[in-house]
Structures are given as structure tokens and as C-alpha cells.
Amino acid sequence: MSDAVQDYAHEVVHEDHGPAKGLRRWLFTTNHKDIGTLYLWFSFLMLLIGGSMALVVRAELFQPGLQFVDPQFFNQMTTNHGLIMVFGAIMPAFVGLANWLLPMMLGAPDMALPRMNNLSFWILPFAFGLLISTLFMEGGGPNFGWTFYAPLSTTYAPDSVTFFIFGVHMMGASSIMGSINIIATILNMRAPGMTLMRMPLFVWTWLITAYLLLAVMPVLAGAVTMMLFDIHFGTSFFSAAGGGDPVLFQHIFWFFGHPEVYIMILPAFGIVSQIIPTFCRKPLFGYDSMVYAVASIAFLSFIVWAHHMFTVGMPLAGQLFFMYSTMLIAVPTGVKVFNWVSTMWRGSMTFETPMLFAIAFVVLFSIGGFSGLMLAITPADYQYHDTYFVVAHFHYVLVPGSLFSIIAAVYYWLPKWCGKMYDEGLGKLHFWLSFVGVNVTFFPQHFSGLAGMPRRIPDYALQFADFNMLSSIGAYVFGFSQVLFLYIVIKTIKSGEPATGRVWEAAHGLEWTLASPAPYHSFTHPPKVVLAEAHS
């Protein structure tokens, strides 16, 4: 591969005018690497905050009865855990990876709109500052679940809901600006020869994700604006008394919400499609079908939203439509899983930490996909709805799915970012602790859910005690093993062994032609991409 793309690393180094010093560097930076770093550290902080809230929840659920927190606070913890993890941890982490990697993968000097890039990051700390500050207000923070169904979030909401609404507006603005930037970068800044069908899959998945974000974040903004008007200006969008309909809220929310769950998984597909070929020393199996599968999943995500609300009452034709269209998503998703497995088939595989996380992703995400299929069956969903089975399902796709892919990406590209190698032994320890922790936490929740344990309740019947105790133990193992992750990353940055430019024996793609650490400005002269195999 190194002869396919010319090596410009040496040229960039002496032109490099380094970053400004101190705090001003981070406040005023327009550099894609700085902003990527900010996004990643911010999302890690949010992971720890959201994770602590999950541990409060798991502590309360360790035994039946009410031990540590009162139910009101428990509700605030589940709600904020969900909001912070979705909007504060997973999404910004993917945007951070996009910032770091897209220009390097496309052969561009920086993102297309660097000043807007700075703005879209710096909105986030304020948005989440606003959201988290509500926990300290009189009446408490949001306590209506991360789905904030009306009228819980309007008529019965705490007064702080207005801050929550503005927080969501700000997160939405940040995501929209980030998406515009990403699309503009991908469409306009590819190096000569980097045609669309030669782009690395991480770039492809982000291009499609960015379009999804543009399509649904404004709908979410509309939904919270309607809530704002219902609460403060006497309208009745969601109030039956004034002629509105609370079910309308669920339709609008899930019209946003379902594409949103793919926003959180498509970039993960991209990351895994980068990592698996490297450690199999083989090109990705079925590149074209991977691209089409992602596009199909994105399209289908717009026509399945009502499978979240089978139990609100819907004509039979509607239930059948949403059931079948939901099951149809398993087809392109299956294509992807089979392609990953086929890439591994007869590959010269090695199992470094990024590969371990990527393989765990394929296996555990598939488990989450299968429980999703079970939930898609309308009559069965009447039993599963609002139980821990749903909790187990979406945690399997989000934690060993999205989060594992992000961790894998950090291990995979960290040597390129900081020029130093992480400690492989510690990385593997982190993997096994996380892998065991995540399964001990969430696998038992399938059983308690099937047996009828409702979600979002701080107390439960005695027969669920064993499964919950197991779940709580797993959660603490998983939670604290992320502190080990923090230690590993800091240790790497401070005192890791120097990494080579290529880093991994079989790494493909333009980013590996740069020196490690990657120079402050990536490609000041566009490299010439000559081979169709430019993607990994």
C-alpha cells in the first residue's frame, strides 16, 4: 500500500507552525486534531458522569426494596444517564473521531469549515452544563425518562424542564453544525483520485450518518419547541384537553429517535470495517455491499419508528407494516455481519486490543440485533414492552456495540495520534474486564425482562433479586474498568514506546502514510490516490 499512495509526511514537518500555547489554544483552535481531541476528552468525561449515574441506579437495584435513593432521585438518575450517554458520550465521541480521522483519511489539510467546527464543540459544554445543573435545582432535574414522553415532560414535569429543553436545542445545533462540516469535508475535500467508492468505510458511514443527523435533529428541535410552547405559552400540541394528542409526541419523538439509534451505530460499523481487515491482513470482504447495506439501513430507519409504540394502539395494517419493515433491517445488517466474518475467514489473524474489541463488537452487537428482532414481533412485543428485556437489548447494541467500537478506535488510532504505543498487556486486561463486566451486567437482564420485571422502577419483586445482584456486580466491574482505560490512555501519552508511521503491519489508508504522531496540519499538498484499494 505504501507505494500506492505517496508519502508526504516528511514534507509537512518543516512547514508545521505549531499550535498556540495554553488555554487559548483550546478555546480558539480551528485545527481538526485539537477539536477532535476536545470532543474525545469531553465525551470521556460524560461517559464517567453518565456511568456514575448508572452505578447509582445499579446500587439501588442491588437488592429489592428502597436502600440508597428515593424514587424521585432514581428517576432523575435513569433519565440523565440515558440523555448524557446518548447525547454526551456516544455522539460526541463519534464526532471527535470524525474530526481526527476524516481529513487524514481523505488527504485533506483540515475540515471544510474550521471556525464552525470550533463553535459546534464549544456549544456542548454549555449544553451539558445546563442539563446537569438542573439536578441541583429545586424540584430536581429531568425525571421523565430519556424519551421525555408528554405529558410526563410537560404537565407533570419539574420546573427545570425548560433548561432541559434549551440544553437539547443546543446539542441539536451542535450536531447539525458538525454534520454540515463533515458532509462539506467529504464532498469537497477529497484528494485527487479519492472517488466516493474508494473512500474508507469509516468515511462512508459518517457521510450517511451526517445526512441522518441533518434530517432528524431538526425534528427533535421541533418536538422540544412544541413542549416549550405547551408548558409556557398555552398551546396544546400534546394535551388532549386542548385538542392535542399525547400520542403525537411519541410519533414525533420516534421519527427522530429511530434514525438516532442508527446515528449511534453506523460510525461503529465503519470503525469495525477499518479494524478487522488490518488484523486479518486481508482486504475487507464485500466493500460495495457494505456501502449499500449502510445506505439501506439509513433509508429503512425512517419507516420503522412506530415499532417503539406498538402498545399505544394502532390499526392492524400499521402493526404489520412496522413489524415487517423492522425485520427487513436484519437483511442489510446480516450482510454486514457476514462480510466481517468473511473478512476473517482464512485471514492471518492476530488479536491485539483493537481487534479484540472489534470481534467482541461483532458477536455482542449480533446478540443485540437478535433481541431486536424478537422485539420487532408485534404480538411478542406486548409482553416485552417496557421490561428489562428492552433495557438488555439496547444496552447490548449501545455498550458492546457503539462504545466498544469507540474504545477499539481509540486503541487503533491512538499511536497515530500521539506517536506512542499503548501497553498491550494492560489493553488486553481492559478488554477482558470490560467484556466480562458488560455481559454479567446485561445478559441477566434478558431473563428478568422476559420474566416481567418492568424498567425504570427503583424496586422489584423478590424473584428478580438474584439476576439484579449479578447485574449490579457486573456494572461495577465494567464501570471501574473504564478507569483503567483512562489510566492506559494517560500512560500512553506520557510514557508510551514510540510508534512507527504505519503502526500496524497491515494498516491501509492515507492516515498511515503520515508520520506518528500525525503532524499538526495533515496534508498541505493533496496526496495522489492511485489504487482502488485505497480503502482498507
Binding site: 469549515l113 464552525m116 469537497n188 431538526p218 418536538a223 385538542g243 394528542d245 403525537l248
Partner: protein, 196 residues
């Protein structure tokens, strides 16, 4: 760079369009409910068209009445009968009652819903208290008349219909009514719907 500006401007159009689409979902959803009877939504005031109106004496359909008050609504609300049996096409008169047990003037509004959903398009109200706000003095009891017709085209497999009313306290909403941009679909549609 102008190229980026152009791309960004085009993408902003998607954003603005989708923000509008979110709000467009509100009337679209109303329309969908109207057409499919989603949520058991019934139409506005019905006017009998003598040219096409028929009474099906061969069938009897049971219509059951359910009265609910929304959480926090202190009024008593009941119907004179739990249910009636009617021939499809035959007009029927039923009385409902509300009482305001509080010591303040209050305004209430009843919102109807029909089950099964498929029957909602065949349940016509020629006169209903649910079309209007009801204002009650402290301790006052009011008789609320309701006239309805079950359409003679009602699908054969439906032999029983439930009409449920939920009574809402709209004292505050009515007071701030001019601010509310959102018109009540029941009021907005209180025009005759042709017999079909």
C-alpha cells in the same frame, strides 16, 4: 472557500425543511387520525342526509358509554344508562350529567373516543356536549344531551361499540385561549360531514 459555503447553504435547506416537517407532522397526524380513526377519533357534528339515510332494522348494535375524568379533574361525570341497543341508522338520544362539587367556577371539556377503532368512522354525533366547553357554577349540576346515529354501513362483524368520554379541566386553557395557536381539532371540524 465558496464551494464549502454553497454546500453548507444547501445542507441548511435540509435542516430548515426538516424543522418545518416536524411541525407539519401535527396536521398530518390529525388528518391520519381523521381518515383511519386512529385513537378512536370521531368526527364533528353530523347532519342527516335524508336522500341516502337508511335504517337497518335487521341488526341491533350495543353502544356502551364510559365516562372518565382526567387526573386532577374534580367534577362528577356520569351517563343515565351504561349502554343502549340501537338499529344502525336509527337516531338515539342519551343524557349525560356533570356536577361541579368545588366552590369555584370551572370550565370542562369532554373528549370522545370510540372503540374498536374501525367503528369510529361509523359513529356519528348529531348533537354532542363534547363540541363545546361547559362552564359550571360551584355546586351546579348540568344535564348534557347527546344524539347519535350508528351508520347503517357499520361492518357486519362489529356488534358492540364503546363510546368513552374523558372530561378535562380546561379552566386555565379557556382563560388563556387567545394565546393558544393550536385550534382544537374537534371544534375546527365542527362542520357537517356528508353521509357516505
Amino acid at each position: 472557500m465558496p464551494a464549502h459555503g454553497k454546500t453548507a447553504a444547501k445542507l441548511m435547506l435540509i435542516v430548515v425543511g426538516m424543522f418545518g416537517f416536524g411541525f407539519a407532522l401535527v396536521p398530518l397526524y390529525d388528518l391520519l387520525c381523521e381518515v383511519t380513526g386512529l385513537g378512536g377519533r370521531t368526527g364533528g357534528q353530523y347532519v342527516i342526509d335524508p336522500a341516502t339515510h337508511t335504517v337497518d332494522k335487521t341488526r341491533l348494535v350495543r353502544v356502551n358509554f364510559i365516562t372518565n375524568t382526567n387526573a386532577g379533574m374534580p367534577w362528577a361525570f356520569w351517563s343515565e344508562k351504561g349502554g343502549v341497543r340501537v338499529h344502525p341508522g336509527q337516531p338515539k338520544f342519551v343524557k349525560f350529567f356533570v356536577r361541579n362539587p368545588t366552590d369555584r367556577v370551572m370550565i370542562g371539556k369532554a373528549v370522545p373516543s370510540v372503540a374498536p377503532m374501525r367503528a369510529s368512522g361509523f359513529f356519528h354525533k348529531t348533537e354532542c356536549f363534547c363540541f363545546e366547553h361547559q362552564m359550571l357554577q360551584p355546586g351546579e349540576t348540568l344535564e348534557l344531551p347527546m344524539r347519535f346515529i350508528v351508520d347503517s354501513q357499520l361492518p357486519k362483524n362489529i356488534d358492540s361499540i364503546h363510546l368513552s368520554y374523558t372530561l378535562f379541566d380546561v379552566t386555565e386553557i379557556a382563560a388563556s385561549a387567545p394565546v393558544g395557536a393550536q385550534a382544537s381539532p374537534v371544534e375546527a371540524d365542527a362542520k357537517p360531514i356528508g353521509a357516505d
